[in-house]
């Protein structure tokens, strides 16, 4: 594994430090087209999704090269404007506040698609199915027999100290033994061209509506080239989700609802979209009530029993009688109903223990333990500072490391060795030495780049990929696509919407297709 100057945060934030002096110009031949000139600043020692190191375009992107060769700036600008307006009109926005004035912004969308070849997708799909299966078995085990603890594969101390481990789930069998109904697995491509797992999202993974809407706008933007590329469809995601949720109860027409924290949640648009496309009610906690150990929704004509709740609120806020007693978002008494088997919750409460960053380190061993298989998708090398030899190695190489607290998230409480002062490093080391088991470290990585249209030219930007898997009665279904998030700014960059990130449509090409 190469240790370069980019950094990945574990919790959906990718932050990259680029040294401006290290950009190299990689094109040998100056091309006449405005988009294909020698200004493309290929990042050193980095995999680019479209261009090889010699500057030639990869085969799967040839159609895009042809398209750009035949396009003027004005026509591309027109398409970009169209997509911006599309997202704005649809209300696919989030609100930022400036001097107490709420201004609606869209999550920036780069019109050029990111391409995944069939063989690449084959590996990703199999790898995700394998990983989700193992994580689900882990959850079933950890809340019941706990064989993995007894066999000392997973350390007991990680359970005791982990807030995501819910004792209320102990001894509870979930319908079809499924805990991880919806998963979003964050992948990055390293400079060896292979995909690696950055993190697992098993609680309330979001972003799927961007996947759906990005495709919607792509179809409008590229009517002449989209149909020829045999791009796998993502449009059936809501139906698959509905079917998988339905399969969890033995009822012909179950009442399924989507539980949202409300319209102020940043993912609210996604909640409304999914509810609309699945044809289910979008409910808030105040719309539900527990009576006689069942959950009911308050309809205009009385109470109606609810069978399945696809919850998009954090466990902490689910039931004020059991978890956070200050929560107004949840439903008092719902955990009792759940434990009685009178309602299904997806994802299962307590799934967070499996996507915690301390648990992440053990996923390859879970795969081996539960499935007796070798991981198809590898983890990023991760050092546990509770282990003296690994702590020693990390401290000696701290300038090439990113160190994080195991209970941290959102990019807070971490140290980027390459970008910190000696004083910051010394202070952080003091924290580590107080309780090394609370820290992990990862070498800085090179994220792959993808060309984006920035300032009227093609420019590389780092990209990750979040595919979505749905687990239910029909097994684990991975939607052939996902959300490709790009860091749109140079320098220290993040991909999340509030901090300058954007997205691209992800085209997974189908097998046996002829690239035209």
């Amino acid at each position: 594994m190469h240790m370069e100057f980019s950094y990945l945060d574990f919790y959906s934030i990718i932050s990259l430090i680029f040294f401006s002096t290290s950009f190299v110009k990689n094109f040998d031949q100056k091309k006449e087209n405005i988009f294909f000139n020698d200004d493309y600043e290929h990042y050193p020692n980095t995999w680019d999704e479209m261009f090889k190191n010699d500057g030639k375009v990869r085969r799967s992107y040839k159609f895009l090269e042809k398209f750009l060769n035949n396009s003027s700036f004005d026509s591309i600008k027109e398409k970009q404007d169209f997509s911006d307006q599309f997202f704005m009109n649809q209300g696919i926005t989030f609100t930022v506040y400036d001097n107490d004035q709420g201004v609606e912004r869209i999550f920036p969308f780069d019109i050029l698609p990111r391409i995944i070849r069939p063989n690449e997708w084959d590996t990703i799909e199999k790898g995700i199915v394998q990983r989700v299966k193992a994580l689900n078995l882990f959850l079933k085990d950890i809340y019941n027999e706990q064989y993995i603890l007894k066999d000392q594969i997973f350390p007991s101390r990680l359970l005791l100290t982990n807030p995501y481990f819910l004792t209320q789930m102990k001894g509870l069998k979930t319908p079809l033994d499924v805990y991880t109904h919806v998963s979003g697995v964050d992948l990055i491509r390293n400079n060896d061209g292979k995909f690696y797992v950055l993190e697992d999202n098993l609680r309330t993974p979001s972003g799927v509506c961007y996947m759906l809407e990005n495709r919607e706008v792509s179809r409008k933007l590229f009517p002449s080239i989209f149909p020829k590329q045999n791009v796998s469809s993502v449009s059936s995601y809501p139906q698959v989700l509905y079917n998988q949720l339905s399969s969890l109860v033995n009822k012909t027409k179950p009442t399924i609802v989507l539980l949202t924290p409300g319209s102020f949640n940043s993912a609210y648009y996604e909640h409304t979209t999914l509810a609309r496309l699945m044809g289910v009610e979008l409910v808030e906690g105040k719309d539900l009530v527990v009576d006689d150990n069942f959950v009911f929704m308050k309809t205009a004509t009385g109470l109606q029993k609810v069978d399945v709740i696809y919850k998009r609120i954090d466990d902490e806020f689910l039931d004020p009688l059991v978890f956070n007693n200050q929560s107004y978002l949840g439903i008092a008494g719902i955990m009792n109903v759940y434990r009685s088997g009178n309602v299904v919750l997806a994802n299962a409460p307590g799934a967070g223990i499996a996507d915690d960053k301390a648990s992440y380190v053990y996923v390859p061993e879970m795969i081996k333990y539960y499935l007796n298989e070798k991981p198809i998708l590898d983890n990023i090398t991760t050092y546990q500072l509770g282990k003296p030899d690994e702590l020693d190695y990390v401290l000696k190489n701290i300038n090439k490391m990113v160190i994080k607290k195991t209970d941290g998230s959102g990019g807070y409480g971490m140290l980027m060795g390459s970008n910190s002062t000696d004083e910051e490093i010394d202070n952080y080391i003091k924290q580590i030495k107080k309780n090394p088991t609370n820290f992990i470290a990862q070498p800085t990585l090179n994220l792959s780049t993808t060309p984006c249209i920035i300032d009227e030219t093609l420019s590389p930007r780092c990209v990750d990929l979040r595919p979505f898997a749905i687990f239910g009665g029909e097994g684990i279904k991975v939607c052939p696509g996902g959300l490709s998030r790009v860091a749109l700014k140079k320098g220290s960059l993040v991909v999340n919407s509030s901090q300058g990130g954007g997205s691209k449509d992800t085209w997974v090409l189908e097998k046996n297709q002829n690239v035209k």
Binding site: M88, G91, S263, A275, L282, V283, M297, T299, A300, T301
Partner: protein, 312 residues
């Protein structure tokens, strides 16, 4: 359907209808002030519809008119301005996207984006106000037609209609009350027929009025048309018929059998209007009649609340 959703649908349409009424009011008053040169009528509008009595000195010229319209359209601190009314309608729509057609959502969202865009406020100040108001009115018309052609028929549509027709009825009663009051204050200085003509323009019933009563603008004819003409889509009678129809349809969609207090009261009010004539209104007195009517409507509104939104 969730109680909360039913309530959101009801208010989505109420606010949208309110915005339409407000635009008509601005438009008519603008024209009326230009014709008469009397700009003081804006004060009544600010008092009655924007709930403010200060901040504006008595307008006496065209520039004051533009400032007042700018305030009515764009002020973000007053809950009764067009910007805020559309924002409330849109927020209600945002909460019920799985129950409304895409076309309704898009028309509401585009309206909100247009009215909240700062550049459009500048555009208003530079352009002909009537042209700008017409542009805004087009958003209302697109909303109304989107709802009519794209919204599935069912409970959601009924709740939207209840909101719309209830708001429209109240607007008609209020405008009648308000304008007749204004007339009694200004009858010495105004040419009565011009005033009444503007009133019927405001209600969007000029063509029907001329067809029905030819060009004889008198107060009795106008009251008759606004209250008991069953072909005028802004008359109290027409809208009460629609309210009753939607209340009955809601029961049918929800398979509720038998009469109930809400249906009973709606039909009772409908019958009252059926047997009301201009002479009976004159006997009671317009103010008393409108007062009673508004009370009955409030009662009906409370019954709708109790029946469908009480789970909130």
């Amino acid at each position: 359907m969730l109680s909360r959703v039913a309530n959101n649908l009801f208010w989505m349409d109420r606010y949208m209808e309110r915005s339409f009424g407000l635009l008509n009011l601005i438009n008519t008053n603008y024209n009326s002030a230009l014709e008469t040169g009397d700009y003081s009528s804006w004060i009544h509008i600010l008092n009655k519809y924007l709930n403010i009595s200060k901040n504006f000195t008595t307008p006496d010229n065209y520039d004051d008119t533009i400032s007042i319209i700018d305030y009515i359209l764009f002020d973000d601190t007053n809950p009764n301005t067009l910007l805020n009314i559309i924002s409330y309608s849109r927020e209600n729509a945002r909460n019920v996207q799985e129950h409304i057609s895409r076309d309704i959502w898009l028309s509401t969202n585009k309206y909100y984006l247009y009215i909240s865009k700062k550049a459009n406020r500048s555009k208003f100040k530079k352009s002909n106000p009537i042209k700008f108001l017409d542009e805004l009115k087009e958003f209302n018309l697109i909303y109304l037609s989107s709802a009519y052609v794209s919204q599935e028929r069912g409970s959601a549509y009924c709740f939207m209609n209840l909101g719309k027709y209830l708001e429209r009825t109240i607007f008609s009663i209020d405008i009648l009350n308000f304008k007749i009051l204004e007339l009694s204050e200004n009858n010495q200085s105004l040419v009565e027929s011009l005033f009444l003509k503007n009133l019927i323009f405001l209600m969007g019933g000029y063509q029907l009025y001329v067809k029905t009563y030819k060009s004889i603008f008198n107060i009795e004819n106008i009251i008759e048309m606004i209250i008991i003409n069953e072909f005028f889509p802004r008359s109290v009678k027409y809208n009460l018929n629609r309210i009753t129809q939607n209340i009955i349809e809601l029961d049918q969609y929800n398979q509720i059998i038998g009469e109930n207090e809400l249906v009973y009261n709606a039909k009772k009010l409908q019958n009252t209007l059926t047997y009301t004539t201009i002479n009976s209104i004159k006997e009671i007195g317009l103010n008393s009649f409108l007062f009673e009517l508004k009370n009955d409507l409030n009662n009906l509104s409370q019954l709708i609340n109790q029946r469908y939104f009480s789970q909130l």
